[in-house]
Symmetry: C2
Subunit: 460 residues, 2 copies
């Protein structure tokens, strides 16, 4: 449609071009993601079973695998306008640096104070909690992006926000904590003495620096033990992927405006919220047989749930109080090496993405953190954005593919998700700058130990 | 032209609407800013006098007070496209929160990795250094925004970048330092043993935590003692204000698109780079008698150069190696209280702005840091952006004016400059969150001490 030179560095949609509905990819999946199971009885959990933990409207979204489009409430649309649409950037400078015939685009979600895409779901979850008349919400945060996003959304709506922050993060990222406090949130290092499960974990593992799975258990307990509170989660769940489709829908509208059809779509994957959101509209076309795209999930070699995990029912948390989900998992006891600085540390993976991967509809690749930071630095120096370590996993593979194009002469169009900025990850960058960063790949024995903790769910 | 509701939350210009020339407000000033003087002879300094310190093309811009528009080179325009145009935001959420009939807009310059507007001049200065065939540049940085911006620009162009960082900042902001290192810059805490002037200052004031004026002296010495290096500066100078007019020009184009005419333009002022850049096109209309605007400079009460300083020739640096400038100043020996966390610590002020203020063309107001942080927090919670302490000075006064409109019922249109984000200022926010922040207003005796150091320049 347009010649290359006419494509601006940044494609911004007009406010009236922003999506007004989220897209529910499950509606187009032949093999639906498996239902959540009760961790005690192994029975599928329905609406009523989930109500003590989750907000009502969010449970409806969680369980709905038939409605393709779900309206975004006006209040959320208004909030989105504060920091969206996010730009789809043509990486002209990176292309030139790599001397590649490939055309590289990235959807940049870092231009908001939470520093990542997490705000897209945070405001939605806070909105439904407020609508239900709740006093507040509880959650966990690892790197801190989700906690920051949720505290921003809660401040905006006047909801109380209680964040359990993985202890090593709490200590290494005091500034993240202060951003949350500035937005009025209470931040507790996890495991803590404030919950039963926290006290149990502390007794069993004195001196532990915590994990996401453990912080989830504490946040769930805190929600269910306080009147007027529910638990909310920043990734993995179907509802989160649904909200994050605003990323992919905007991307698709922007590409369509310029007649651009990607060959390759790349995203980093921890719990899967960004990747699922980015690819959903494209995956929908693929599922309906309208188009074909190569889709690549990139994960850290130190937490390789797709590439070395098992597709099985597993606990979502360490304390085993959450529903079981069928997903690619390393076992809820798996904790990546302490020297892993690159984020994406969750032991499992979104059930939607797990099913799609299992069905051969997408690929996955694991990369090591030193090469991820090298790619991050290269990107920062030419594109001017200091990326989050998480996002840099996608950068690494996008660069690899663009270099391959240089070798083959193919003019592929590559789209990747740049989920956020690295301003609160400078400890990790410092390690890299000082040449102190190492790669941390789990051995087969490490993985076997994680798998040993998988629950024995009867086959139906 | 348009009804209010039609104005989007964020006005983005198209790439082809971005300014292609900087605007030189000095061309429209009847009373030109006074010339720079040689610190030894008190003689005005011309092109040849300044060449050992500054880049040739930048000296031409520094001395040119007659050419109203100066072309922006294509390479700089291309770099601008990486992170510009910046949005002009309609602060709908803040207006609602304040229940004011005022219409509030802010030009947000923080959506780039340097976190501020400083990149606008950094790329220009690095470009001219590169064009001149230099190996590298030296500079000083206080809060770190300028150093980060310059390191980004130098990384992009392949220039060496040596930054002298005020020691207390270097220690309190290790993450700022790491961002600069990630962009390949060398960062030295100032005062240091690497320069003669640094060693002298350390001998006279052992244990000093440094100051901007002292870091400038070191950077100038480093530039003049290395073959192929020049010194560059992020504020105060005429050339910097010139480059920063891209802010005001974009703002004016965006306002004109929607037929919006501001009543009031507000900006924070340290050395004056942001304020000068924002107001220049509007001031030009005022100087030419085409329009009238109220223009307000906001400065910290702990470093009140406009409101309590003298309009006099003074040293730009502590070591007294730089040219003398005629400006509002507190004396080059003045150092704001160590408990001042709000930035904008420079003892002087842009000669252009000083002259305009002296001629009654703009107002100035000083605000205290606790009220600045209170305004910052209020803003962050409704507008979703965590502002830099510097920028928050403008927020404070914009809110005050909007509240006044609520009381009088006036529907004034307020435009302010939001220069940057506070992600690297969380120590200061922590202090505020913990209730530990105090106000730090210099006594008259403090000021007299600063004034005592003013040079005795013969009147011509």
């Amino acid at each position: 449609m347009s010649a290359n030179r006419e494509i601006p560095y940044k494609i911004y949609l007009e406010e009236n071009e922003m999506p007004k509905q989220w897209y529910n990819v499950r509606a187009d999946m032949k093999n639906k993601p498996a239902p959540l199971l009760n961790p005690a009885t192994f029975e599928p959990m329905g609406y009523e079973d989930l109500r003590p933990v989750f907000c009502d409207d969010l449970i409806r979204q969680e369980l709905d695998d038939v409605t393709p489009y779900i309206d975004i409430p006006q209040e959320i649309l208004d909030f989105y306008k504060m920091y969206r649409p996010s730009p789809l950037v043509r990486a002209y400078c990176l292309e030139k640096k790599l001397d590649t015939p490939a055309k590289i685009y990235y959807k940049f979600e870092g231009n908001n104070t939470s520093g990542s895409h997490k705000l897209n779901s945070a405001i939605a979850q806070a909105y439904y909690a407020k609508k239900q008349g709740l006093k507040g919400v509880t959650t966990e945060t690892g790197a801190g992006q989700w906690g920051t996003a949720l505290s921003m959304a809660c401040a905006y709506l006047g909801l109380d926000c209680q964040v359990y922050m993985v202890k090593c993060s709490y200590e290494q990222k005091p500034f993240r904590r202060e951003v949350m406090r500035t937005y009025g949130a209470t931040v507790t290092p996890s495991p803590s003495e404030t919950t039963e499960v926290g006290r149990r974990i502390l007794a069993e593992h004195p001196g532990t620096s915590g994990s996401l799975g453990c912080a989830i258990s504490e946040a769930v307990e805190a929600a269910t033990h306080q009147e007027g509170y529910r638990y909310v989660l920043g990734s993995v769940l179907n509802q989160v992927l649904l909200h994050q489709t605003v990323i992919g829908l905007e991307t698709k509208t922007a590409l369509d405006k310029y007649g651009i059809v990607p060959d390759l779509i790349i995203g980093c994957a921890g719990g899967g919220s960004n990747l699922g959101g980015l690819i959903s509209p494209f995956m929908g076309e693929k599922l309906r047989g309208e188009k074909n795209y190569r889709i690549i999930a990139v994960e850290p070699a130190s937490c390789p749930s797709f590439t070395r995990g098992k597709f099985a029912y597993d606990f979502c948390d360490t304390g085993m109080v959450c529903p079981l989900a069928k997903m690619y998992t390393l076992g809820s006891g798996f904790i990546p090496s302490a020297s892993h600085a690159g984020g994406l540390r969750y032991h499992g993976m979104s059930p939607v993405l797990s099913q799609l991967y299992h069905d051969g509809l997408m690929e996955a690749v694991a990369v090591e953190q030193t090469e991820v930071f090298a790619a991050a630095e290269q990107f920062a120096r030419v594109e001017g954005i200091l990326p989050a370590p998480e996002s840099s996993h996608a950068i690494k593979v996008a660069i690899d593919e663009a270099v391959r194009c240089r070798e083959t002469g193919e003019e592929k169009t590559i789209v990747f998700g740049l989920t956020g900025t690295g301003y609160f990850d400078m400890y990790a960058y410092e390690k890299y700058n000082d040449g102190q960063m190492t790669d941390t790949i789990p051995t087969d024995a490490d993985l076997e130990q994680g798998f040993a903790g998988l629950p024995h769910v009867p086959v139906r």
